[in-house]
Amino acid sequence: MNIIVCMKQIPDTSEIKIDPETNTLIRAGVPSIVNPYDKNALEAAVQLKEQHGGTVTVISMGPPAAKEALKECLSLGADRAFLITDRAFGGSDTYATSYILASSIQHIGDYDLIICGMQAMDGDTGQTGASMSEHLGIPQLTYAVKIEVADDTVTVHRETDDGVMVISTKLPALCTVGKDINEPRTATMKSKMRANKIDIAEIHVDDMPDIDREKIGLKGSPTRVKKTYTPTIKKSGKKLEGLSCDEAVEALAGFLTEKKILKGELV
């Protein structure tokens, strides 16, 4: 079974700080990491390979620096990796990104299953996987917490808002996964050495003669970011300090009464 994992290299959003002068994100010095959910996607793929045989291919669209992240994926059990990189891809929104990824997958060839993270922590849209399956014309099984393959069928436990749906479809198909599906393994000295020996191939726009150049990059993106800003926090209210517990409780109960919450009439 041949599985393709889509991986995005992102800035570590937990390390991002806001510049208090300009109110913008400080990205300098922020480490780049493999999008955490994509590690779950990779782990799910490697586990399926261990059960059924086959290959795991990781692809990433991004700048040359994303090779570092692909290398990490190779050390976590992937067999091959492709970097999809070209100036023509810059500025792509999820429509264009998913089209480029889908075109690259068609270029790479044979696959049975594609696994994506449910969301990339930077752009945070969670749209790329489902859009890609539409471009490829294959079914999608999103928010999977368990993936099983038997013969030509994939069965998934899919998280819904009020429970779990067990759902199946014929391969080829695409799944998206979150952190509940597994605990990603860590690399070993040996697996890192193995990874170092694997060449990471590049895919450029010229490698894909069939790609529609009107549908990629900024030009191919229907959405436009008009402005960005850091969320402001409304400062308000009253802080009670140095009160005894009794005093604090009396003050709170008084406040709740004033708000009519105690009478069950919320205002």
């Binding site: 899919r158 808002d161 759902i167 008009k226 800003y229 308000s236």
Partner: protein
Amino acid sequence: MEAMTKDLWVFVETNEDGTAKNVGIELLTPGKLLAEKQGGSLVAVILGENVEKAVNMAGRHGADKIIAAEAPELRAYSTDAYTEAICKLVKKYGPTSMMIGATNNGRDLGPRVSCRLQTGLVADCTALDIDEESGNVAWTRPAFGGNLMATILCPDHRPQIGTVRPGVFKKREPVENRAEIIREEIHIDPKDIRTRILDLITYMNSENVDLEGAEIIVSGGRGVGGPEGFGPVKALADALGGTVGASRAAVDAGWISHAHQVGQTGKTVGPKLYIACGISGAIQHLAGMSGSDCVIAINKDPDAPIFDVANYGVVGDLFEVLPALTEELRKDRAEA
């Protein structure tokens, strides 16, 4: 494609019993304002089987028109049937914009629909307006783990589509249902639904936490110290008739299930009263609860950022304050 009307559509997702999910009804509130500014009607689009209850709810909460399509193949959500139905309707009626609730199903459907219609999709919005300059919908959403807000337009493609987070907008007061109701026949060939549902497991009641619809929420964070620390939190919630929420730190520690999590990667809530106990007030937590009408914070650390958003902050130990407050409330209730 070109828009044929100035109408704004709200996709109202249904439950299997034919009622509407909260978020679809919530979206009719901002939908009304945007539709007026766009100069068109507010249209609720409802798919399912036996959807009369949802039709009635949409009518009573402000839809001008309702397009209802019923078919056995639409009873349970499937990507293929729902995408097919929505795209057919969009091509027939040509709305200029469309909102979809950002539930797991909505986020499954949105990208498939927008991709098939070759238009843009803005994800997980928390604020909506019309861009003064261009007249396009200005969709505002958090990104970078809630550290950044982005306002996004879809200038040249129609319809403009966005998914919108549940719990951000409030339902309007119900009025008399005067909506024009359009019944659509949609035929879906069962063979075109490539997925098969083998089982549906609905979480047990204890897991079915309606934070988005709650009027009072009492939340616990890392400060509660362990699973048993949610005892006093729950007791206060019960005394107030409220629902229990949690920070991600408490959820990740395994003290309470993810269904209770409030924030960027949990639920967005907008209760009348939010009581944060032992929660520091990280930006990702605030992203989920800053729409609350009134916030009370109880925290040992006087410098905790949660006090910046609290209307009323108590610097103190939650294990002292909560039980005493619960007791006081019970006493007052008994007297009243």
